[in-house]
Symmetry: C2
Subunit: 399 residues, 2 copies
Amino acid sequence: MKMDYRFSDKVLALKPNAIREILKSASDPGVISLSAGNPAPDAFPTDAIREISERLLRENPIGVLQYGVSEGYQPLRDTLKSYLKEKHNIGSDDDELIIVSGAQQVMDIAAKTFLNEHDVLVCEAPSFVGALNTFRSYNTELIGVTVEPDGMNMEELEKVLDENPNAKLIYTIPNFQNPSGVTMSLEKRKKLYELALAHNCLIIEDNPYGDLRYYGEDVPAIKSFDTEGIVIYSGSFSKVVSPGIRAGYMMANKAAMAKMIICKQGQDVHTTMWSQMLCNELMTKYDFEKHLDYLRALYTKKAALCMDLLDKYVVPHGIHYNKIEGGLFIWCDLPEDVDMLDFCKKLTERKVCVVPGNAFLTDSAMECHSFRINFSTPTDEQLTQGIIEIGKLAEEIIG
Amino acid sequence: MKMDYRFSDKVLALKPNAIREILKSASDPGVISLSAGNPAPDAFPTDAIREISERLLRENPIGVLQYGVSEGYQPLRDTLKSYLKEKHNIGSDDDELIIVSGAQQVMDIAAKTFLNEHDVLVCEAPSFVGALNTFRSYNTELIGVTVEPDGMNMEELEKVLDENPNAKLIYTIPNFQNPSGVTMSLEKRKKLYELALAHNCLIIEDNPYGDLRYYGEDVPAIKSFDTEGIVIYSGSFSKVVSPGIRAGYMMANKAAMAKMIICKQGQDVHTTMWSQMLCNELMTKYDFEKHLDYLRALYTKKAALCMDLLDKYVVPHGIHYNKIEGGLFIWCDLPEDVDMLDFCKKLTERKVCVVPGNAFLTDSAMECHSFRINFSTPTDEQLTQGIIEIGKLAEEIIG
């Protein structure tokens, strides 16, 4: 290589997504991976998708194959608007909804539209590494706010906003947060909204797991009390239909959305038509609620198994975790005198993969004593074996 | 609306893609649209796609529906690497190829990876407005270099590069350029490469129409003599399979690609699996060359009809155009004393839509006497009626 590439300042420090790199090494068939975030193989509505796809390509092949508009397939946009209004009381005449190529694109578009280099984005600590990496790719300064069992610490958030007038976006996953599993209380959601408004700051409400509640009652979305147009709501089909189809949606105030649509157009013109039409058919001609019930039943069983196993094999040896009410992840805390990275490395040597918690921090060099486990991807047998192995290692190291 | 949005500097001046806006108004069923760039409805390999899709969803539904890796579906990457090597002599051990969600994403990723705000990107004048808008969305300074019948004016290019040390990218569509229809000569391709290398500048070689040559001989790709890793090659399935599936690919030196993969990951994690697997099946289990022959036959007929009609009805009234050897567009020049925008407006009043040429310039306020017509989307009847109408208006206005 003779070329000396002149990279942009934005990407100079970028590194590959640590989790996706871990996943690559966890793909060895002998390894039990509790490190992914994939839906269970039996979570896909395969028969319905096969049937719909066959019909779409027979009845409307040109619609599937020709260019579409950047805002998305109009029938799906209409379906989602009604769905969000009825189910979550989200959306007003001031809002617009567009289809995106997975929720990851919402993060990219929002960052691009609102952040100059070195502007501040406030996120939960820990938070979803995929989103953080997207924000990093715009040379954004990330500031994490501690996640408590009922969501972000609001005093800390207020302090961060007071001290950083160039904080323009707050990124939150209020339901069954990835990786902590935490759901933000209604009180904190209201406080978060109030603080954002007072600081002229927008909120990205990322809700990929909202439909996957196994216990307890739904908490209203922050977007549902967004009278001032400061919430960018992000939804996804990845966890409830399929991630391979790359389909999600975003809702935001029309004035904000006008710029974001142009950014969406610049990235990929529009989202794959097949994926969009598929989702619309699933939501309108099939019993989508029944499918969600099926998913919840499937994952409730897996979540319960996971927590039972943790209670039995892992908690007695000094590892703490918070019970979850939904989602796909459980966050485990080691005692503070245990070297977490060393613990995860030893687990890998025993062919069990988890994600070291520091991957989810704004600075992976920060002290961290936690790791994330996922229960949706492994089989029940793998989950059992994996957690027993975690327990054994904990016994050896902690006692 | 009470919120005063603090947009990033990047997007402040962004406006919607003029052509896509024109297309919206051209969608009135009474209007003859010569303004699109869509494949002809009978260009899609619909039967094969139906067959492949049905088989994929039967034999490997989890592969279609589960997450994939950001670099793309490995079998398709391998297929494309062989294809590009055999067909275009493109690709070395220093290069990497990844799958993207349509070629538009190549432009976005390359701009993000290499351009700081106010850096210069050199493009052809005129050039593809979709790409220009993507570059604009990073607050890039665009400088256009005049397109001659054999490609960019090289003296002008050299001057621009000499005067702009922060010119980092040169964007070119060397084959059947959109919108001018021009193919760059081999001599100019070599000169372009030499100038880029001497100025530490990268080249984006955008080749969506390369397989659609109707007359004459193929000219070697710039990437085929890229010994120094300065060419980012962009290919697309939009014109040869389907634009609705959003699938394309890019090839670049591994060191440059490492950063671009991270940007791709941040945008949409990966490209729709269905689209990727479909393209691979089409290229490996079907006679893809035969399909390309079919497309070329289809479009050769349409291109010939279009040029015959122009020769008969339009050229005699003072409008000039250059014969094309491939692609989907013809560029028409009005005499310099005719108001082009007024001409296009009057055409629209007569229910014929073309794209005003200034839409393709780096600054749409520049003087321009040309307009673009497309012959792939309209039926032969629409094409005939539309061009007769252009001729009538030319006779009235020019004489």
